[in-house]
Symmetry: C2
Subunit: 346 residues, 2 copies
DNA sequence: TTGTAGGCGTTATCAT
DNA sequence: ATGATAACGCCTACAA
């Protein structure tokens, strides 16, 4: 209700002094500062964000762009991590979701003018098209990629060692004696590339490296994507394909835990025992993975997001990153959903 | 980079016309509107939020205040639900976390001036102190409570039928034959009252109503709160108390699923079989509940948050709610974590 | 249907 | 250490 000017009158100083005092600038005499503080508290005064923003040019707003719901495990953890570092610095962290290609295009189409509307951008998950990442840098919008890939690198990024992770997984299954293995894509509704799709590539690469032939390795769904299908229908469909695959694998890697949980349950319903008949490896180490006794690959998106936010912070403040890109490694957590293949056991 | 004025020049019209055209107001000739749209796109122009905000008085910013991390199941779902209705209307949804009492106090202390900084407020989980809810209404800040309780009701609220839920739970356990039952509080780190604590009260009330005596019903932790303790230590501690309780219950209700998962695992480790030795009922119907085969009480915070956001929307637009308070009911989902008590079985 | 003019509440620059 | 004075970019009467 009351403005900075009212505070100035009450404290018997000028507007500028109030502004300086309230923002903790150093050229204010302690006594004056205190008088101002009292007047402000007295009046219940708070700076108006939009006015400060307009005058200063800083919006104190960073957007985090997701390719799916914020209640998905990975996204919620990113949000929390970034919030933990940004909020104490006074930034708003605004989640924005672009689930469809038009939405994504729209977001980037509006980018040119958006410099006035955000101080920074965090991009988790997206496999960014080059034109987009270029636009970002040429518009001088501080942005950091969070487990995001693109040919044209952004100036800052947090990357997950997906390659190492998949090599670990394949090596692990190979060590258990599995000779027919499969990779299961997450039936994501997002119609554009997500960086987790990269894992498929590395899985195949690792398999080949370990001596698996094409016939030994299957990807589900193979080609005909299960698109635009409710997610559990898609999962059911995929589980069906796995079970009825001509050369059914004895072990599968699933792109994310949340999908693995579902698939495990469906396998059991179909009479396929895990791990006796089929080994399952997940990805994420979701809180429920221990509960489900799921062997999985641990990652910590909350931590990665903190790192991303930290980098963004220094960029927004005009600093230089001493390490533009930081890589996080994964850890394979062996649990009860994996075992040697059927024929190997007594 | 370019301003509304630049667009006006390019389109050969006045600033106000551009403003009107861009915001879709009706008093603009289609042809003019199009010319403006083209000029805007051409220049990559986007309205500057802070300027619009300052001039119009609307911030297009609604904050959602949480008492814990946004990656908690309930919170993440609230966020997603509210986002789904607010984002399409152009609102930023800004998550703010107040985990400690000072943080909460600080938030409300700054409220008087905050009217200029937010158009609305969503309050999940808090057991609001009256002074706070009164401040909100007297400051005319549109706010809606989401499963939040306070003596002084806010003008709008979404309430969960916690009472009905707990009566269902007690009735269910009673029907299975349990004569000694327990209620397990969530070892929340938040030092202030959360509305889920209400459930404890209703549980006790229901138990009494069904004929349980004080000796038959135990609350964990009983009195000495497990405060300021890392959450899993607290859970371990609580599990220990349950197991070693003098008159150990044969069935427990746990305040939220996430805690129930943990407790179930610990019980098993301690050799207590679920449900043979101990029945467990959760609350939430978290995605992992099916996986854990946990009998639980279903609620849908995402849906509730949508409703909350909808109410907020009409309030922010000056409308009147035809139903200030909406109550959502719960459903008990029987699964494998509950069974008759030990002595009842052959 | 469109244009004109004033003001929204701060910050920044330049004095003092 | 503090004051005066322009911006900042848009919206909203009001006028035409």
């Amino acid at each position: 209700m009351s403005t900075l000017h009212d505070v100035a009158l009450a404290a018997g100083v000028s507007d500028s002094t109030v502004s300086r005092a309230l923002r903790g600038m150093d050229t204010v005499r302690p006594k004056t500062r205190q008088r101002v503080a009292e007047a402000a508290k007295q009046l219940g005064f708070t700076l108006t964000r939009s006015a400060s923003s307009l005058a200063s040019g800083k919006t104190m707003r960073v957007v985090i762009l997701f390719d799916g719901p914020v209640n998905a495990w990975f996204n919620a953890n990113c949000l929390q991590g970034a919030l933990e570092v940004l909020a104490p610095e006074g930034y708003d962290l605004v989640p924005v979701i672009a689930m469809t290609r038009p939405e994504l295009e729209d977001f980037f189409a509006k980018l040119p003018g958006s410099g006035n509307n955000m101080d920074g951008l965090i991009l988790p998950s997206f496999l960014l098209e080059d034109s987009y990442s270029q636009a970002l840098t040429s518009l001088h919008i501080p942005a950091v990629a969070l487990d995001t890939s693109s040919t044209t690198q952004l100036p800052a990024s947090i990357v997950l060692d997906n390659k190492g992770a998949m090599y670990d997984a394949v090596r692990f299954l190979h060590g258990l004696g599995h000779r027919r293995i499969g990779y299961v894509e997450h039936p994501s509704p997002a119609p554009f590339e997500s960086s987790s799709h990269l894992r498929e590539r590395y899985f195949l690469e690792a398999a080949k490296r370990m001596g698996y032939t094409d016939g030994d390795v299957t990807v589900f769904p193979k080609q005909s994507l299960v698109e635009r299908m409710p997610i559990d229908e898609a999962t059911a469909e995929i589980t069906g394909r796995i079970v009825s695959a001509p050369n059914r694998p004895t072990a599968i890697c699933v792109e994310i835990d949340e999908a693995a949980f579902d698939i495990m349950q469906r396998l059991r319903v179909l009479g396929i025992r895990v791990p006796q008949d089929m080994s399952v490896v997940g990805f994420d180490d979701h809180e429920a993975a221990a509960l489900a006794d799921l062997t999985t690959i641990h990652q910590d998106p909350q931590l990665m997001a903190r790192a991303a936010a930290q980098k963004l912070l220094t960029m927004m403040r005009g600093g230089t990153l001493d390490e533009p890109s930081t890589t996080f490694r994964t850890t394979l957590i062996p649990r009860g959903s994996t075992a040697p293949p059927p024929q190997d056991r007594p």
